[in-house]
Amino acid sequence: MSKLNETDIQGFVLRGYNLPVARYFFLHFEDAARARMLIGRLLHHVTTGQLWDGGKPESTVNIAFTQQGLAALELPDATLLSFPVEFQQGMKKRAGILGDTGLNSPERWDELWRDDRVHAWLGINAQSPAALDHRCAAMVELLEETGGAVALAAQEAAAVVIDGKPTTREHFGFTDGFGNPDYLGVGRSSQPGQGKLLPNGSWAPLATGELLLGYADEAGELPVAPMPHILASNGTFMVYRKLHQNLATFRAYLDEHAALYGGGKEKLAAKFIGRWRDGTPLELSPDNPDSSIAQDPNRSTNFTYGADPEGMRCPIGAHVRRVHPRDAFGFNGKLIDRRRITRRGLPYGPFAAEGEPASDTEERGVIFMALNASISRQFEFVQQQWIEYGNDPHLGNDKDMLMGNHGGRGKFVVQGDASAANPPFICSKLPNFVELRGGDYFFLPSITALGMLAMGLVDPR
């Protein structure tokens, strides 16, 4: 496969920018013509996938639309109806499928997400708070000049800063952001363990069509996409979820259970997720964290579960094993190749280091953004079957320890062995460590498609 046309693809799709601060505006279009004018003006700002020869830019701009947003831009009905059903419905209507009920149900979401007013996501990432403010001011000016949209809200997000340096830690203290897949044609330094597993034990990039519309996917066919195809090609779908973290609950639960667990607190925390807090995979180093592994791209994601079917190193229900089961279901991992997602996103809210006071009510969490060619086949499947359910790993109705919508019920089994430092252990009466505060499904178009939207050139087929 030759290289992709990187200048036609939004940069946000092809690479995690690794920029420490971000602001996500949520736009509402009031008039189609003015909104199109706004998109036309924005076109020159949108960051593409073109390589940064001159180093990282000070800031980046990307844009994506909800179904309501595309309707507000007055796309033809025939085109709107050609989008996949889950996108047309939006995330709120999929709450039952996703297990977004009880504490996570839409009536408990932030007000922004409770009605259907969000038309577009405008994502700005930057090197520094000053660069972010500068770029955002320019964006707000554009909104006002064109009258194309009102900003309903702006979500701040930023890498957690420890000792003056931005890190990839999240609020529970775990190092995040290891597991994004490699795709054919997407030029980035590829890392063993991030694509698909081959029968000989090596790893290869996934088919481009698992990420981008208009390319063959792992089943050898084009992903379901809206018509006309030029509107879809080089675009993708984005899932946006604001995940609130109940930090006090997490710490109290961990302390309470660590007191009963023979392996110690840090090991119990590692068993929840499958990695020690510094990121060392349990599968590679079950007894202690090892920064030489965590920081080595050739090792940090390069492992399988085949030799640990009973979960004695990494529990069968640990978060990373659930959401990226690798070879755990047999068939050399072939059953999972069409269930992979690319994650973007950053934490939000103040970081409270271990030992500092923390409450559940403070606004704190992670902005989870997932990119995939098919929301239903990829994100929704992972969320329903692997986070909120457990049949594939033979765990019945057990849910993901950290992400699951437990509501005070359920359990998590830490499989162990006969040694005192690695005993079997059961965590029960699970609270919701994470709560959903809102979000939606977005279409992230190519540069060509943005131009078509701006000029009103989307003809029905």
Binding site: G96, I97, A219, G220, F331, H394
Partner: protein
Amino acid sequence: MSNINGKIYALNAITPMKPWKTLVLRGFFFLLGHIKPLQQDLINLSFIEFARWVVLPRRQFPFLGNGQVKEELQYDYLLFFSNFNGTWNQYIDAFSAVLSKGLNLVWRWSEKFPGAVPVTPFKEYIARVQFDTDYYYTAYPHAAANDLKSAHIVQASLDSLSQRAQACTPEQFADAYLRFVLEVQAHLGETGEAPIVF
């Protein structure tokens, strides 16, 4: 009338075959029945409760007399019957992803079979030849096949612990209990409602 009962889905598909092709298929079934490793992939898909293909020869359809008109059928038929856990899409996706060669050998003798890969025409084909279930009884709608297998493991292990416990000292019991927990620790999933089908 539904194909779904709790965590289980019942799928029936009937496809016509030219009679001379039935002979070839029977040959393949004979091999499949006698070479166990050939069945292994199907068995390893743990969400399948069972899957069975049966040939319905055109001259062996029931004839009841009593005014039933004699028919001269042109085709033999292949009945596929399977019960599985999870959604229809998940099932066919998995079939197509890991069993395509075997499925092609079984179904290629049926008329208009498009092949198990790519998956979309395969799904269209199955949807077209599928017959919905009129009545579907299942003893454990809140349990998947994996849950039942796990329950057997836990039960057997508990029974044996209970037997050993009769004559145990407290120290021996502690040891026996640990071994019991290690035996069952990967088989303790809850049973319950199935996720919403989509």
